[in-house]
Symmetry: C2
Subunit: 665 residues, 2 copies
């Protein structure tokens, strides 16, 4: 990249293509003032900005600087920007001056055919072009589509319907089809607007310290650079490849009876994930958990012995935790006595409504609180014998709490999921368990790459809806991937069942066949286990789930290589097609297919009632996994009966024999 100084401004070039321009006519910085309104209801946020000023900064005056290779520009009394362009990287250090205001806009040159991806884990749209994306960690929404009855009803009853941009994991970073990534070093509320043909407009409720733009020759190299910058996930523990992780609950007897039944049916079991190991509570939404993070001896009698017993059989036990503590429990009282919770503006208790129960928010900006909670994880979870857990939530930091570090909660809100991830990470690291234990999170932010070993896609509806069903998980995996989170999975069959919407056998099995072709298979009984289809509900499903899990296990050598590549180079396990077929323009628009590594193309059936499926294949020699039939580039149609998800392997793959064996051919 290159910085070109002009008479009245400057330009940054990426090869022979312009990337950023400043001139009095086309300023790239705008500052202004806004007055925000933020309302939170159970993790659903309504953010509004009343804009009072938006000033284009037309005049840039160059100033001398002692640093070689750095150009410094002063934009009146508003901004000071130091630009360093070196090799593949441009960095813009931005300092707000006296009259900077509290809003900043930056325009990056766009191109007509350009596609952009990322902004964290996006569930609705992989290519972000044509839309804008508010970046604020929140509940992802139920339905996420204003045209559906589900979304409307959730909006009206609980403000929880969401929209296409809602995400647990936003990140002010995008990857361009021009083979660069741009990252804004800030955690303030941001909105990345890709609706304009000629430019991308990135806006911030504050002044980001730095904008980093880094290019590469191809997407794999770009991912190496992305993850070199943000960090890379560790390898998955060895035991995880042994089978599925069964999401079961309901006390010792029920859980282990179901495990035994599953084993009898031939389901390979890697782990038992027990979200109610710490007890449970009933709410109108469904079965919820007891938010006090210690073994519930009454609900799970004899659990330590069971954990030991099953570990000998090669089956691990996983639990659940989140960074809140329900009021009036012993742990809550301990935290409160020590002042470990975020407080209100006058130093009083601040309790957050999580849906019919209230909790204190552990103040991770207080080092003592952070260490206390980390210590609790070590003691109550790790020492107890858990091999992993869902590290849930992280998105609910209210914006009107007072924090120990004195920082505004508007700034810390998007930072919180990463602090929460880091707390878990360090608990593992400090106990030497990073390669043995695993936790999975839905919330995230800049740095999740380093601190979260496994994402899970959050709480999909138990259906085939485009914006909140099976299809949305593919988009989530791909957008997380380009952010550098190469390990992703989801609740098989989805989680949220509301009103008349319940999980069917078809939803479960289509989801399961997809999960077999992801790094991790894990079931979840959902928010209303009794009324939703479960894998153990009939013989036929047990058999089919066993078969799919065996396929997944059979993929182990291939998956391990991919996970290794992710750990070492930061190349994600699930990848967009254009990562390997960058000369094919059609691949840039695909968000319902993915490459599992370089050699498997997976085109999940994400609609109901299908027995054949249309897939797009980029130029290569592809072999349909189930029929062995060969295909080349183009839209093709294949049989797709239940259990035979459209999957194709590259004929030239060195894993060809493995794939052939999997198909039983």
């Amino acid at each position: 990249m290159q910085l070109v100084e002009k008479k009245d401004g400057f330009e940054i070039w990426q090869g022979n293509r312009i990337l950023l321009v400043h001139s009095p006519k086309n300023p790239c910085f705008y500052v202004g003032r806004g007055e925000e309104t933020v309302e939170m209801y159970r993790g659903n946020f309504q953010m509004e900005d009343y804009l009072t000023e938006k000033i284009p900064l037309r005049e840039a005056v160059k100033e001398e600087t002692a640093q070689p290779g750095v150009c410094r520009y002063r934009f009146q009394d508003r901004l000071l920007v130091e630009i360093a362009v070196c090799g593949d990287t441009a960095t813009l250090h931005i300092s707000g001056q006296a009259d900077a205001g509290n809003r900043l806009w930056i325009r990056i040159n766009g191109e007509k055919e350009e596609a952009v991806y990322g902004c964290g884990e996006q569930m609705s749209y992989f290519n972000l072009r044509g839309r804008h994306f508010p970046l604020w960690s929140s509940e992802p929404g139920v339905g996420r589509d204003k045209s559906t009855y589900m979304t409307w009803r959730c909006d009206v009853e609980n403000k929880s319907g969401g929209d296409y941009f809602n995400t647990n994991y936003p990140q002010p970073t995008y990857v361009s089809s021009r083979r660069y990534f741009l990252h804004a070093d800030t955690t303030v509320y941001a909105d990345f607007d890709f609706r304009h043909e000629a430019y991308h407009e990135l806006s911030f409720w504050g002044i980001p310290g730095q904008i980093r733009i880094q290019e590469a020759d191809d997407f794999l190299s770009l991912m190496e650079k992305v993850t070199a910058y943000f960090g890379r996930q560790p390898r998955l523990p060895e035991w995880i490849y042994r089978g599925a992780i069964l999401g079961l609950q309901g006390g010792t007897k029920r859980v282990f009876d179901l495990v035994e039944q599953s084993l009898e049916k031939g389901i390979p079991v890697a782990g038992i994930w027990c979200q109610d190991w710490e007890g449970k509570r009933e709410t109108s939404f469904g079965k919820r958990l007891q938010w006090e993070w210690r073994w519930d001896e009454k609900w799970y009698p004899g659990l330590p012995e069971k954990i030991a017993e099953y570990e000998k059989k090669g089956i691990r036990f996983l639990g659940y935790i989140n960074p809140y503590l329900v009021k009036d429990t012993p742990l809550y009282r301990e935290g409160k006595e020590n002042g470990y919770f975020a407080v209100d503006g006058r130093g009083g208790d601040y309790l957050v409504d999580f849906g019919e129960f209230d909790c204190g928010v552990v103040d991770f900006t207080n080092p003592d609180a952070y260490e206390w909670f980390k210590g609790m994880i070590k003691k109550n979870l790790i020492d107890f014998g858990l091999s992993g857990w869902m590290a849930d939530f992280g998105e609910y930091l209210p914006t009107d709490v007072s924090l120990f570090n004195g920082e505004s909660a508007m700034v810390e809100h998007n930072h919180w999921p990463v602090l929460w991830a880091k707390c878990n990470y360090e608990a593992l690291e400090e106990t030497g368990k990073l390669s043995e234990l695993v936790y999975f999170m839905r919330a995230g932010g800049t740095g999740s790459q380093r601190y979260c070993p496994l994402l899970w896609a959050g709480d999909q509806c138990v259906d085939f809806s485009i914006h909140d069903g099976l299809a949305s998980v593919i988009c989530a995996a791909l957008s997380a991937a380009v952010m550098g989170n190469g390990l992703h999975h989801s609740d098989i069959g989805g989680y949220t069942s509301l009103y008349e919407n319940v999980r069917t056998k078809e939803v479960f099995l289509r989801w399961a066949e997809m999960a077999a072709f992801t790094p991790v298979m894990r079931t979840h009984e959902g928010n209303r286990p009794d009324t939703n289809f479960q894998y153990y509900d009939d013989e036929d499903t047990m058999r089919e789930f066993a078969r799919l899990t065996r396929i997944h296990v059979a993929l182990t050598p291939y998956l391990k290589d991919l996970v290794e590549e992710n750990a070492v180079r930061g190349i994600p396990v699930q990848r967009p097609l254009f990562f390997h077929y960058e000369n094919d323009p059609q691949t840039y628009q695909i968000q319902t297919e993915y490459l599992l590594g370089e050699d498997l193309l997976v085109a999940p059936v994400y609609l109901s009632g299908k027995d054949e499926w249309e897939a797009y294949l980029p130029e290569d020699a592809w072999v349909h996994l189930w029929s062995g039939r060969e295909y080349r580039k183009g839209k093709i149609k294949v049989a797709a009966k239940m259990g035979e998800i459209p999957v194709f392997y590259r004929k030239a793959s060195r894993y060809r024999t493995l794939f052939e064996n999997i198909a039983g051919r």
Copy 2:
């Protein structure tokens, strides 16, 4: 009012209260640039603005001017503002300079307790404080409440659900409880924002030529000034007081048979309003009309004779018209041959979809087209013998048409309803029929006061919903009133029936009892006559409707005096309570009661299943019309069985005997 010049700015004072301030710290003008997106679907608009600049104009430089009493300020190269403050009036003439951009914001000082009203005919909120009001003529929406199933479904299926601010009749004018009105002389898209405690921010997609602010000592004087400026409505024709106007359709036989039945049941009939006099068409929405404006001889055989026959009995005949012509009819072809329709950007046909049929838009900016259409009204409607008509629509001018006068359709759109009103007005005026004929409109804008003799509230849902049912008509009447439109009425029982929502007998009767206490009673069979309750559906309703109409007729002496007052002084017939009780703060928040003249307070039952009702009475001696019981100030509860709408008269009224007789006491 007074202009006070300051060192760096100026102030306008209303007595000892500040009204407008300009200083470098608190500028009152902001200019900027925006890029709008406008999408229309069947009269429902989606307006979006992408704001690229919003610049506070901090520096005002005073310039010399030859005009005495005028101060001229130059705001850089952006605005030139000439301020004249004289007596009760301040005017700001605004000229955009080279760098003005295409957006303007003006801040007017607000006060905490201040209430504001108007912005045209508003259906949801009378006091506009706390909300913003986009001002753009459109369909009013079905449901108008994003929390209702009706609105959601209409949005999803037809983009037609609307919101609280949708109106057929927007006007960039408000009346403040501080006893001034402010008017912006422009027809561009505007948004009046009353959400801020300290100021009202008025924004415009263009530079308004003038802002006028005029104060008065009391609200009645203020209304005189409002209507002195905008114009006043003529008196209603004499015949209208003789009874109800029956909305009937379906051909000669059906209509006149129903009239006869109505007369037999003792219903006083002033007119027959026949919307399908020109023929009809069936659509999925319901029965629609044949949009060619001439008598349909086949559908209405012998109509001229019938009109003459009934006129002798004192019963008038009214029809229907709107400013569009359906494609491929003789009148359409005539207009097309002469180039009388608005065209697309390349001069080609521009047809507007009105819901399963397409029409040409008569270009009223073309004097020949305007005269042609006016001549058609004279010939086909007036000469034919109609005594009035619904002059429907006017809100559908697309923003991408090319107009004869070369003006942007973005500017003419909000002007259109008034051009349409004027065309009707002149047809009456030029034929000497202003005192004998009447037309009623739902669309409006600045100038409707002069050119539209009677508003009707548009297409309410046939229900008790707050935002689109009976209650919304009261708000509509009051907000239209403060704009200077003192004659208002509505479709008894509402119009729009969709899905399972149909008009019940209760809705009809509650609406009818309210209509009896408005200037005009008129029924409408609605969009789906067959499935909705009609006044002629049962004996009981015929009898009750006859009784209510007789009450209405009995009010004639009082109503005529009010209509006279409206014509001469511009004091509206239906009035907000604070017009006469301005020292009572509670009256400023009331939008579900009104004063009919000074002496009747009407508190319509706008909810279902009530047999008593709570009303608020300001300080006075009030007599409950039906019981004769006396009340004074406060919240009171009265019996409110069907047919006995809560109405109170002032004990001191000179019409007391009239009111006593009406109640049959």
